[in-house]
């Protein structure tokens, strides 16, 4: 479209024909108040607060809404003259006669100097701007909201005033509502759902977690409206750098590296199968990880410890060794639980008035300063019971007057069976190897132990190395360990890797296998047998070849070669025979 000349408040400006007056004004820094305008939606012009006076400069004038009035050549706009001020003011007073005070209305009223609106102040929290209805319709494409009834009884409604199956719970309506009239309501009155908490910002376009590296957001395609209804696309609209690409696909990056450090970490043990603890079945039975999220000042509860009903707990039981030191789950000790359990006790005592009871098998406070911390927490009035919790049940089984849960255990120090009433139970779940550790280890030719952790080359002499040269271990993928240990091991692994990478040449062991090409029959039996993937097939020459740098001189190939083409250096048949003869002589 061609450019036209428009005059706004006396300032002439060239803009494309058909641009809306509001956009032109905002471009010039002229403020026109709006209530129902949202830049990502078609203008609706229902609130009329953006009314301005349009004219042709020759005496003809008319009030128009700036948000949807397209400009034409010679248009003269007065955004702030007496008539516009009066019309806005009266309309605002009319709106206030219906609606309750809210920030957006109060601000606007202040700017007009309206103290007491002449038709009184209403009680409706909705100002009928229609943003929610339109965002659901135009942006989200779910069409779950509409206006019900008409005239003064007009209101925002779902079809038949019931919970709509069309609603995809995206929350777009809640986020655009300028007055807080729309809000989320928990269907079962659960204010806090511990199992669904996340440390990530609660949005479909999000950081994986706040300290993520690289710290860039990604789109959660399961929850993004764009991927669900094909609508929205607001993020692409607002991104000033055009970074949003809805067609982007996951890609596999292939890189050649000289060393690999395995730092794949651990999984948390899922306590659901241990039904005696009631996790997933009873309310307010939470895992240590969920509890830790609540403790995070930037977390979902802003650092508050809360029960499902949104109230702070009055008493908490912390159960040690859930899944650890247990023949039904993992026999090993997870090493970190005792200490973080005491940290929890300390935090709970600091943040709430709750009584804390710890149930332990025995306390393993082995690190530097650990024992001192344990003693300090004991001094803070935390109850400790030596005895593993047998089960957690709802208190209604046996009315005790307080708390909703009962923890049953045997107190082995006094030799008695006990029931502790609490309203929250924290399960200190075991650390376990990742379920894909074994499969992943196989790719790198490193092996896992019986409990799934990666096995180091030697527990004392090579604790971060593996049986594959150039692959090192760091952190909890090698075994349960706490943060200081993980950091130490990580440093060691990095040093090992650097040592390898800094070398200009690699010193190899003289002992390795080689293939006599003339003798090799090309059967390729050795290719698959080599545990270090050192043997490759040379298609052009039709022979197998050994990469000496990878060979560990295990001799497997030499033993298996049907043609006797593979020679294990330093362990050739002649040498072995000679050794035997030497020993026998």
């Amino acid at each position: 479209m061609s450019d036209v000349t428009v005059k706004i408040n006396g300032r002439s400006v060239q803009v494309p024909e058909g641009t809306y007056v509001l956009d032109v004004a905002r471009e010039l820094g002229i403020d026109i108040p709006t209530l129902c305008h949202y830049e990502h939606m078609t203008p609706y012009a229902a609130c009329r607060i953006c009314s301005v006076e349009a004219g042709d400069g020759n005496g003809w004038t008319k009030m128009v809404t700036a948000c949807n009035y397209p400009v034409w050549d010679g248009l003269v706009i007065q955004t702030d003259n007496e008539r516009a001020q009066r019309d806005r003011r009266v309309n605002l007073e009319l709106l206030m006669s219906r609606s309750a005070r809210c920030d957006v209305l109060s601000q606007l009223a202040d700017s007009f100097g309206i103290d007491t609106p002449r038709w009184g102040t209403g009680t409706d929290t909705c100002i009928l701007c229609g943003m929610c209805v339109r965002v659901c319709d135009e942006v989200v494409g779910a069409h779950a909201l509409a206006f019900g009834e008409r005239g003064v009884t007009r209101r925002v409604a779902t079809p038949f005033d019931t919970q709509s199956s069309e609603c995809i719970l995206c929350g777009a309506c809640v986020s655009v509502c300028p007055t807080g009239h729309l809000r989320f309501e928990e269907a079962e009155n659960r204010q806090v759902v511990h199992q669904e908490m996340t440390l990530a910002p609660n949005s479909a376009i999000t950081l994986p977690f706040r300290q993520a590296v690289p710290n860039v957001p990604f789109i959660d395609t399961d929850h993004c409206i764009r991927y669900n209804t094909g609508g929205c696309g607001v993020c692409a609209d607002v991104c000033p750098k055009d970074c949003i690409d809805y067609d982007a696909q996951d890609t596999v990056v292939e890189d050649k590296v000289g060393a690999v450090i395995m730092a794949t970490g651990f999984d948390n043990f899922d306590p659901t199968p241990l039904q005696q603890y009631g996790y997933g079945r009873l309310p307010n039975v939470v895992t240590a990880e969920e509890f830790e999220m609540m403790n995070n000042a930037a977390g979902p509860t802003d650092g508050q410890v809360l029960l499902e009903n949104g109230q702070p707990p009055k008493s908490i039981a912390i159960l040690h060794c859930v899944g650890s030191r247990d023949t039904n789950a993992h026999e090993y000790c997870s090493r970190v639980c005792c200490m973080y359990a005491f940290k929890f006790s300390h935090l709970v005592r600091e943040k709430t008035d709750a009584e804390v009871t710890q149930l332990y098998i025995d306390v393993r406070s082995f690190g530097k300063g650990y024992e001192e911390f344990y003693q300090r927490v004991l001094g803070e009035g935390v109850n400790v019971i030596r005895g593993k919790a047998a089960e957690v049940v709802t208190a209604s089984w046996k009315a005790r007057g307080e708390g909703n849960l009962l923890v049953r255990c045997e107190d082995t120090l006094i030799g008695r069976f006990r029931e502790i009433p609490v309203d929250m139970v924290i399960l200190c779940t075991a650390l376990e190897a990742r379920d894909d550790a074994k499969a992943f280890g196989r790719k790198l030719n490193i092996s896992t132990g019986a409990d799934g952790w990666f096995i180091e080359a030697h527990p004392k002499l090579a604790p971060v190395s593996t049986t594959t040269d150039g692959v090192f271990l760091a952190g909890a993928c090698q075994g349960a360990k706490d943060i200081p240990d993980s950091v130490a091991q990580g440093g060691a692994a990095a040093a090992q890797a650097l040592k390898l990478l800094c070398q200009k040449t690699i010193m190899m062991d003289g002992a390795c296998a080689d293939i006599t090409a003339e003798v090799c029959g090309g059967c390729r039996i050795c290719n698959d047998l080599c545990p270090y993937s050192a043997i490759t097939w040379n298609e052009d020459e039709n022979v197998s070849e050994i990469n000496a740098a990878q060979c560990k001189a295990c001799g497997t190939c030499a033993a298996a070669c049907p043609a006797g083409a593979i020679n294990a250096r330093h362990f050739s048949d002649e040498q072995i025979y000679a050794q035997i003869e030497g020993m026998l002589s």
């Binding site: 012009a45 229902a46 609130c47 009329r48 607060i49 009314s51 009030m63 128009v64 809404t65 949807n68 009035y69 397209p70 008539r83 009066r86 019309d87 009266v90 309309n91 009319l94 709106l95 006669s97 219906r98 002449r118 038709w119 009928l128 229609g130 509409a146 206006f147 009834e149 008409r150 005239g151 003064v152 009884t153 007009r154």
Partner: protein, 655 residues
């Protein structure tokens, strides 16, 4: 031939000649009005009885019985007109039918008691054309309603129907049609009065392959039934107009949006469209011209605001009927964002008329800026209510006195309301200070009415007498509009509520002069900022009544007095000394608040009286007075004293 497709103008003319030839000249035709008004009075029974009586009299082959659309004088229904003589019988009941058949059809005698009696002389009037109600009218569009059976295409063809279409398709180019309409000076009859030719021209020039023509039959104004009568009584004229319009603007699809509350119009339109399709007047290659046009019809959902063009189109699209800003006109982006030419029923019905009589002849009727005729629905306190068609520029006096026959009862005219809820109320009898109002000689056309503070609207015309309170009238229209406001835009939704609250306060004696000033400001803001004309014109009832009847407002506010005695909170009913003691009032009083011995002065218990006014309506002596609230007791005391004096005088005289 009779039901075959009509494929060219020549065939059309042949069909018509054929139809006329097959009708014996002079053969009696009994026209029973089956318009909505007469239907409510039981015309269906009359028609059924007529069929039976004619058959019994052995006249089934010689006498034709037709049920027509609304013939106009609804006040006098059920109507029976016997053609070709044009004998007009009014208020015919099933019991009268036998007499009509025996006397008029068989013996050519008149049934005197069913004839129209002149209001002044009392002399019977035989022929329909001699009745003064019709005398001053110029029935160009509505006359055919009385001549045809709306469900018969043949009837329409026989009176020259679709000939205009044939002429246009075979001889005129689309631009010639638009030129002709422009020359005729036709303006939209829906309310705005926009020049139709210009609208068509813009639509024709609008970019887009697909265009639509739409007929607005969502006539929602209280008291208006012009479009209803046209659609019910002569749907083919509307269809013909739409086909011509579609040809002119280049549309191949049309829609008629019929008000939900008009079942008969919907039915008759459906029949007409089906017939037109069957005979090839709708569909492909109409009359061999190569022009294709199909027409569908849709029913509204019962919202007044859907008469607004953008709301109507939203409703047609299946969305909620809410208006949108018309900064981009519907002729450019209307239905489904395509160029759409929307006109109302009466406008479309004018189109074949203009083609037939020629733009010049049409333009000769009316005033400088408003051409042709306009149909009004005359209702309220006049002797002759009903549908009237008059040339533009006729004075209010002619409509009210010559056609309407003056005010009914022994009352005096007070005001006339035109233009529906968005229109205004005009003083017709006395101006402020008793001066004779010049508005009675106001020429009725688009611009004069607007200048006087009202509007043409779609043609409702409600006459009010001295018993109407203007504050109450404004309140009525405001509450109608508030009820019908869609609620989308703020000033209409909330402004109407506040206006209504303020004015309701007036009718209860609560209010101040400051409220009047505030109302005026609110009205200005609403006119400035409402999204559509439902809100933009909504202050008209208040502004026009305040302009002409400010004293009445002031009486309500300052004296807590309703001069017309309508506002219940401000009046008391009281009995004055002229009471003859007939006890009729006591019998109708729903709360048993009236007491009195036979032939003695009655009195009203003000404690229990609900001011319903039933006694006021029935009192034969006019002894019930509506007085300012709180004065009733005084009147009664004075009446009792007067009564005592009167009876004392009688006693003395008799003694």
């Amino acid at each position: 031939m009779k039901t075959g497709k009509i494929t060219s103008l020549e065939t059309l003319l042949d069909v018509r000649t054929n139809l006329i030839q097959h009708r014996e000249l002079g053969r009696p035709v009994v026209m029973v009005c089956a318009g909505t008004g007469c239907m409510a009075c039981g015309c269906q029974d009359v028609a059924a009885e007529m069929e039976q009586a004619v058959a019994q009299a052995g006249l089934a082959d010689t006498v034709e019985i037709k049920q027509t659309g609304c013939q106009g004088p609804c006040e006098r229904g059920p109507l029976v007109v016997i053609q070709p003589e044009g004998i007009f019988y009014q208020k015919v009941g099933p019991a009268d039918v036998k007499q009509i058949v025996e006397q008029t059809l068989q013996k050519n005698h008149l049934v005197d008691r069913l004839l129209y009696k002149d209001a002044d002389t009392g002399q019977p009037v035989v022929k329909v054309q001699d009745i003064p109600f019709f005398g001053k009218q110029m029935r160009l569009i509505s006359a055919d309603i009385a001549r045809i059976d709306p469900t018969s295409l043949n009837d329409y063809l026989a009176i020259g129907g679709y000939e205009a279409l044939g002429q246009v398709l075979s001889r005129w180019s689309p631009t010639e049609v638009i030129h002709e309409i422009k020359r005729s000076g036709l303006r939209g009859r829906g309310g705005g009065g926009f020049p139709t030719g210009r609208k068509w021209d813009t639509c024709r020039r609008a970019e887009g392959e697909v265009k639509y023509v739409i007929c607005n039959a969502d006539e929602g104004d209280p008291g208006a039934f012009m479009d209803r009568s046209l659609l019910e009584g002569n749907p083919h004229s509307v269809i013909e107009g739409m086909i011509i319009g579609a040809y002119a603007v280049g549309a191949m699809q049309g829609y008629v949006y019929v008000r939900n509350e008009y079942p008969l119009a919907f039915k008759n339109l459906g029949i007409a469209i089906k017939q037109a399709r069957q005979r090839g007047l709708l569909g492909e290659n109409i009359l061999g011209s190569g022009f294709d046009f199909s027409l569908d019809y849709s029913r509204g959902g019962g919202a007044f605001v859907c008469g607004e063009s953008t709301a109507l189109m939203a409703s047609l699209e299946g969305k909620v009927g809410e208006p949108r800003a018309k900064y981009i006109h519907t002729v450019d982006q209307g239905l489904w964002n395509r160029p759409s030419c929307l006109n109302n029923v009466e406008t479309w019905a004018n189109v074949p008329l203009i083609v037939n009589m020629g733009a010049d002849a049409y333009a000769a009727i009316g005033t400088e800026t408003s051409k042709g005729t306009k149909i009004f629905a005359l209702s309220g306190k006049v002797r002759n209510t009903g549908l009237v068609e008059v040339p533009m520029g006729i004075t209010l006096r002619e409509i009210l006195y010559d056609i309407g026959g003056g005010v009914s009862g022994n009352k005096t005219f007070k005001a006339v309301q035109t233009g529906g809820p968005s229109g205004g109320t005009l003083i017709v009898e006395k101006g402020e200070g008793g001066a004779e109002s010049t508005l009675l000689d106001l020429p009725v056309d688009f611009d004069e009415l607007t200048r006087a503070g009202s509007m043409m609207g779609s043609g409702g015309m409600i006459v009010m007498d001295e018993d109407s309170c203007m504050v109450d009238v404004a309140k009525y229209f405001l509450s109608f509009l508030q009820e019908e406001s869609c609620g989308k835009c703020l000033p209409c939704r909330e402004g109407l509520r506040q206006m209504l609250e303020t004015i309701t306060g007036f009718t209860k004696g609560l209010g101040s002069v400051a409220d009047l000033v505030q109302l005026e400001e609110l009205a200005e803001v609403m006119i400035d900022t409402c999204l559509c004309q439902l809100g933009g014109a909504a202050p008209n009832p208040i502004l026009s009544t305040m302009r002409y009847f400010r004293a009445e407002y002031e009486a309500h506010i300052q004296d807590q007095h309703c001069p017309a005695g309508v506002c219940k909170a401000l009046v008391s009913h009281a009995i004055n000394s002229s009471c003859g003691g007939c006890h009729v009032c006591a019998k109708v009083c729903p709360t048993d608040s009236i007491a009195g011995q036979a032939k003695a002065l009655h009195s009203i218990d003000q404690e229990t009286c609900v001011q319903c006014g039933a006694c006021y309506q029935v009192c034969p002596n006019g002894s019930i007075e509506r007085v300012k609230r709180g004065r009733g007791a005084g009147v009664q005391v004075r009446a009792a004293e007067a009564w005592t004096r009167k009876t004392e005088k009688h006693r003395v005289a008799n003694a």
